[in-house]
Amino acid sequence: MPTRRYLIEEYMREAYGGFITDDASVTPNLVNGWIDEGVAVAAKTNYLDAIKIDGTGYSNNSFYATFSGISISADAAGRFGYFQATLPQIALGLGANEGVGSVRINSSELGLSNSFIPLTQNQLEYFENLPRPNGVYYWNEGSTLFLVSKLNLTGEKAIVRMISGGDSTNLDSALNCPSDYLPIVKDYTLKAILNHRAQSRPQANDGADIQ
């Protein structure tokens, strides 16, 4: 299972044709950002492949990661019965809401909850006016996860399973991407590196842009 640091070194050595000099303008942190984007492209490709093969969209398990200990607080807009939490990253734009696979809480009093019920944007505006079973409903907007519950969830910790490349802040962590889709990540990242290196750079310290 390659780590981010391993892949960064692999891609940079390929782009530079050997070991990289320490003064390279393409830095590991820069490549790390492109790798994250590459994983998103790979997950999207996987989703589209599923539609082509099975006629229905889904993402392979290997793209999912589980994050726990996500703090839930009261809704910032003050809506009664609404709560919110901050996801580790913005969920990928797959389908209507396939970027987040499941949400539940692990309560110290009540134990592990059932999976909460996902909503799409189309359902949001009328779901409160329709008969619905008891449960907690959720949807995400960007990196904010909103929950609707008759129970007070403030202070509880959410467990979220979502599509993610893993911990992008730790270069020694494994990249969460199956091997058959790593070539997509590599193609995307290498293209970005080579494009960066191909750009003109100012040769003179004269306060003027490149001519």
Binding site: D22, D23, T27, N29, L30, G33, P202, Q203, N205, D206, G207
Partner: protein, 222 residues
């Protein structure tokens, strides 16, 4: 090669052309200049730069061979920064080979004033974990000022090459090895240095023969 051998070879070349005698003082005057001239050549004279391609035909960093030739003059020292993150440049420095910091010798990047804000404002590579430095007024300024464990490898000129002598009973100079300063150049480089010394001698003596011999060595090798 000792300085005495170098002096004798240069004397031989001059005398062969019957163009005169090089006094010890004249030798001691031109040899440091010849040494610096060859060092400047290996560093990569900017007069050879091409438009849009600031690289000389011969330049430090091209390959290990040039670095080997300059290795006797490269030394590493630990830098002590003041509260403003500044430190003076070392004595006799000619070229900064590298500045590193930390256990893994991460490179501290040189930044010109054109790019200073971009580096200081970077969120991808913040200076706290990717320090940089600038050069102004003979001082190095590091950002952040609190960076520690910084070491710098520099190329320096050597103590001036000197053929020291004592006068014998006939007032003729006799080589004094104790007071002399030998060149640090590798033996294979000393002919290049001597060729440059002979060029200066040729100009001084207005000798075409000496100048041509010097040019032959510089252009065609040994």
């Amino acid at each position: 090669m000792t300085v005495d051998t170098a002096y004798k070879i240069i004397q031989f070349a001059i005398n062969k052309s019957q163009n005169g005698y090089l006094t010890p003082d004249e030798f001691n005057l031109i040899m440091p200049q010849a040494s610096t001239s060859y060092m400047a050549y290996l560093l990569g004279p900017f007069q050879k730069y091409q438009n849009g391609r600031p690289m000389a035909p011969v330049e430090i960093g091209y390959n290990g061979i040039i670095l080997e030739r300059l290795s006797p003059f490269i030394s590493t020292e630990i830098l002590t920064l003041d509260g403003s993150g500044q430190t003076d440049m070392p004595e006799n420095w000619q070229h900064i080979v590298a500045i590193n910091y930390g256990a893994k010798k991460q490179r501290v990047r040189f930044v010109q004033q054109d790019s200073l804000f971009s580096y200081l404002d970077s969120v991808i590579d913040p200076v706290e974990s990717n320090p940089i430095y600038t050069i102004e007024g003979g001082k190095l300024t590091f950002y952040p000022a609190t960076v520690s464990g910084v070491s710098m490898s520099t190329l320096k000129t050597q103590e001036p090459i000197k053929w020291a002598f004592n006068l014998d009973s006939n007032n003729r100079p006799v080589y004094d090895p104790d007071g002399s300063v030998d060149p640090l150049w590798l033996d294979v480089d000393m002919f290049e240095v001597m060729a440059r010394a002979l060029a200066l001698v040729g100009v001084n003596l207005q000798s075409q023969a000496v100048a041509q011999y010097s040019e032959m060595i510089k252009q065609g090798g040994q």
